[in-house]
Symmetry: D2
C-alpha cells in the first residue's frame, strides 16, 4: 500500500525472442517521477495471456492509482500511438511467453464487443506533435496480450470519470538494428520515448485537475 | 582559403515544399567541430541540377579538403544509409528548386556508368550499429540531385586514395509529423542524426590516419 | 420489391479524386449472378456520411436480402481483408464526396462502442487462400464512410442469426499506376477481385444453408 | 542448336526456402511462343553464384539469341520492375542454394563498376501501364544472384546494338499467402505476370525491327 496518490504505468516484459521491450524500458525510466502531486508507479506485466490481467489487478489493488497508462511494443510502427479501442478478442499469431496461442477467444466471455480508451487521445497526439515527436491515434491494438490488457483494464477499472488507456511504442533502435529486416523496422530512441510518455502523463494529470 | 586541414561536409537546402532538410541541419550542427586535427567545413548545396555541381566545385576549391562527405534527405527511410554507388543518370520525379525536371539524361555525358563510394561503408554501418543507431548500406542513391552530386563528386574529386562519398539521412520528426502520411513517414531525431554523422566523420578520420 | 431471394452486395462510388472504386466495379460485375438459389443484388452507396446509411436502408427495404455483404476500397492493402469489427466513431482524414469531414463523432449516438462482423471470417480467409488469393482478417475498418456503413449495418440489420459484414478490397492496378507512389501502391486485378468476392458469397450461401 | 531465330528468356529456380519462383513460372509459360519471327527459348538458371553465369553462357552458346531477357523474383515489390543498372558487387544477405554467401566481392574483378540495361526501359514501363499492369523502373537489382547474372550478361554479351537486360517480378499470390507477413507481402497473379512479360518481349521485338 502506498500513501502517495499515484499514476500506474505498466510495461511488458520482452517477447517474441527479443531481449528487451521498449514499454518496460520506458516505464522503468519514469518510475518514481512526480507528475504534479502524483507519483509514477511502474509495474511490469508478463507477456502471458494467463497471467497479465491478474498482474494488472494486483497492481491496481496495491496502488489504488488515480489514473492508469499501459504501454506496449508495436513492431513496425514509427510513431507513438495511443490506442482508440480495445476489442473482446484474443487471436495470437505467435505464442505468448508461456506458449499459449489462443484463436478467436474472447478476453471476457460476458463482456461487450469493445471499449473506447478513457484517455484524451486527440490532446495527447497534439501535445506530442507540439514536442516534435511523431504520434497518431491507432484504431487497432491488435489481438495479442496488449489488447487483452487494454480490454481488461477498461472492463474492470475504466469508468467515464476515470483516466485509463493504452499506448503502443515503436521498437528501440537496437531492436531494429538486430532485426535487419528489409525494409528496415522503424524505431525511436529510448530517450525520445521516455520524453513522449512523460508528456502523455502530463496531459493525463492536467485532465485529472480539470475534471477533479 | 583556409589554412586548417579540413573535411568538407555538405548538406542540401530544403526541397519538395519542405521548410527544412535534415542534411543541412546536421551539416550546420557539426560546422567547425574538430575531428582529430581536421576541422569540419560545412557548405550548403542548392537543390538545383544546374547549380549543385558548381557549388560543390567552389567548396572543393575553397577548402581543399582532406575528405568529403555529402549528405542528403531520403524520405521514407528509417535508417542512416551510406550509399554504395552513384550512377550516370538524371531522372527527376519532381521538379528541382529551379523547376527543372531532367528525364533520362547523363550527369556527365562522357562519364562512365557508375562510381562506387570511396567510403569504408561496412565499417561505417558497423560503427553506427555499435552506437545503437539504425543504419545500412543502400544500393541506390536515386536519380535526383543527390545522385547527381554524388556522381559528380566521385568523377571529379574521387580517387582510390581519397575518401569521398554520400550518405542519405531520414526525415526529421517534425517533417514526418507534418506530412501526416499513411503509413507514417519514418524519422530520426536531429540529435541522433548529428551523433550519427559525427561517428561517420570519426570513421573517416581514422581511415585517413591508417592510410596516411 | 423482388420476389427472388437475394444477397445484397454493396460497393461505393469513387472518392478521394479517384475515377473508379474497385468495390463498385466488383459489385457491378457480380450483379444478377445466382449463388445457389440466391440472386446477387448490387447497389452503389454514395461516399457521403449524410447519405450512405439511408441508401443502405433503402436497399435493405427494397430487397429484403437473406444476407448482406458491403465492400469498400482500402488504399495501400495488397490483400482482400474481411473486417473483424465496426466501431462507433467517425473521424475523417479527408472530406467525403459532399465535403463533410466529421471529427470524433459517433455513427449512432446511442449505439454501443462496436460490433463484430456477422460473417464467418476465418472460413472466408481460408477459402480465398485455397484459391491462391491473398487475404487476411483486418482488425480495423478505419473511421471513414466504410466503417460508418459497416457499423450502421450491424446496428440496424445485423443479428446473431443473420449474415452481414464488410470486406475491404485493394486498389485496382490502373489506380496504383496512376498514383505513382513511392513505394508503389499495391493492387489486385479486377478479375481476381471478382473471383474473390464470388468465393466469399459462396461461403456465405453455404453458411446460410448450414444454419437454415 | 536451334535454327529458328530466338529470344532467350531466363528464370531462376526457387530459393530462400520457397517452393516456387515466379521468374521460372513465367519463363516456362512463355516457352516456345513466337514473338513475330522469333521463338522464345526459356532456360532455368540455378540460384547459385558459382553456377549461374556458366548456365547463362551455355544457353547463349546453344541458342545464339537475337535478344536476352533475364527474369528474377523481388520479394516485397508490387510492380513489374525493369532494372536500370547492374553493379559489380556481390553481397549476399542470405546463402545461395549452394550455401555460398559472398560479402563485398566483385562479379568480375576486372569489370567496370556498372552497366546500364540494354533494354528500352521507359517504353517497356509505358507499355505495361497501357495494359493496366503496375510497373516502374527500378534503380537497384540488389547484390544477390539476380544482379550477378544481370551484370555478367551485360559484361559478356551486351553491346550497344544488342537488346539485353533484367526484369524483377513480384511474388506470386500463393507465396504471399504462405509468408503470412505483417504487412502482407504484395503479389501479382501468374497470369498477369505472364501477360506482362509477353508485352515486354513484344516491345523488345519491335525495337529489334526498328533497329534492324
Amino acid at each position: 500500500m502506498t500513501s502517495t496518490p499515484c499514476i500506474l504505468l505498466t510495461g511488458f516484459e520482452p517477447f517474441g525472442g527479443e531481449p528487451v521491450n521498449p514499454s518496460w524500458e520506458v516505464a522503468q525510466a519514469l518510475a518514481g517521477e512526480m507528475m504534479g502531486s502524483l507519483r509514477v508507479e511502474s509495474v511490469q506485466l508478463p507477456c502471458v495471456f494467463a497471467q497479465a490481467p491478474q498482474a494488472l489487478q494486483t497492481a491496481l489493488a496495491q496502488y489504488s492509482p488515480r489514473a492508469v497508462l499501459c504501454l506496449g511494443q508495436a513492431e513496425g510502427r514509427s510513431e507513438v500511438t495511443p490506442e482508440r479501442v480495445a476489442i473482446n478478442m484474443l487471436q495470437a499469431r505467435i505464442p505468448d511467453n508461456a506458449g499459449a496461442q489462443p484463436q478467436e477467444e474472447p478476453v471476457i466471455p460476458t463482456g461487450p464487443t469493445a471499449y473506447f480508451s478513457g484517455l484524451p487521445l486527440a490532446r495527447m497526439v497534439s501535445q506530442l506533435h507540439h514536442c516534435n515527436i511523431p504520434a497518431s491515434i491507432s484504431n487497432s491494438a491488435g489481438t495479442f496480450v496488449c489488447n487483452q490488457v487494454f480490454y481488461w483494464l477498461q472492463h474492470t477499472w475504466g469508468r467515464s470519470d476515470r483516466l485509463s488507456g493504452f499506448v503502443h511504442l515503436p521498437c528501440l533502435p537496437e531492436q531494429a538494428t538486430r532485426m535487419a529486416m528489409t525494409p528496415a523496422c522503424p524505431s525511436m530512441p529510448l530517450e525520445v520515448q521516455v520524453r513522449a510518455v512523460r508528456e502523455l502523463l502530463r496531459v493525463m494529470v492536467e485532465s485529472l485537475q480539470l475534471s477533479g
